[in-house]
Amino acid sequence: MSSLKAIDKRVAKRRQVYKAVLSNPFVNEEQLWPHVKDQQLVQELLQKHVLNKLQHLREMNIPKQEWPFDSITDFNEVYSYLSQKDSNEEVLLFVCNKDPDVPSVMLQQIPLMSYISSIKVTLIQLPKGSLAMIQKFIDLPYGLLLLPTKHLDPIFLQQIHEQVLKQDLPWLAPLKYKSTDIKLVKSSAPLK
């Protein structure tokens, strides 16, 4: 028999904790957005190498066909770009996923989209407040900025790739990759 005091003490010693019941490596929902090592650095790189140039191009009224590199911001265009089949292209997809102005229903599907796409997508989440920052330079109606890497500065690309981890969603892997067609050849081996 323990006294009431003892029970009280034991209860007081327990603290409330929250455990992620559903998180596991298969679904990997904690790592849905790949980890970015230094978010501020990525933001500065983006501004220096891309946004400033885009702003200048727009100010000089150069038609969009003549721009040195592409930039896609519309959701439907991003979606159709990512659903291309059999292309060896590489893209960077910057997403303002921490800003309250970006619809969460759309954000939920972005990591899945970029993972399942047959194009090599580097998904980069931007820190809070980036939407307002980018809006100063260009229009960003959905908080998405897709940059095909073909004509981008290779040093910029390398720096970005160093900062961002690879996306890993095991439950989608069988849908992304075709299963290998392994066949057996009937043969005979000598008895030992």
Binding site: N24, F75, P103, M106, A132, Q135, P141, Y142
Partner: protein
Amino acid sequence: MNRTQRERFRDRHLRQKYDLLHSLPTLQTPALAGLYLKSFYNATKRYDITLPSEITDADTKFCGNCGLVHIPMVNTDIEATSHDGQESLSFKCRHCNHKASFRSNSIESKLSSVAPTSLSGSPSSAPQNKITKSTAKGRAKKRKQNSLNNLLANKKKEQNNGSSASLSSLTLESFMKR
């Protein structure tokens, strides 16, 4: 079973059901999705676990009709449409052809009205931007407000307040009273 064992069993039980839901598209058996989703929800109910709204809201993570987990480009088509200045996002399940659309106000207009400095974003303006969903609680509240009793009470209140100084109604009666 003691407490830790019970918790471990619960976790494993829920995780197993959750994983099954996610492996359905791979197993080429989307017809089972509804059954599995229901079983998963029942399990969370049994253990008194409240799931985040990203999972439970119909048509966001799972299809509201057949319960299949949404995977864009594989079993779901997503399209952004704008209609009368209202932007909306529509999901179409390729398995059951169920369509769902979510309305959201355009982001640009909100940003310009709030002023793009990071600190001035007032909390009052933020919720308008979020995709509007009707929750069960909200609907219940609305229903309560629209009940006959409430309408009568409101009318009475208006009469009590406004009989002396209301200019709001322009009927003949209100003029005669004055």
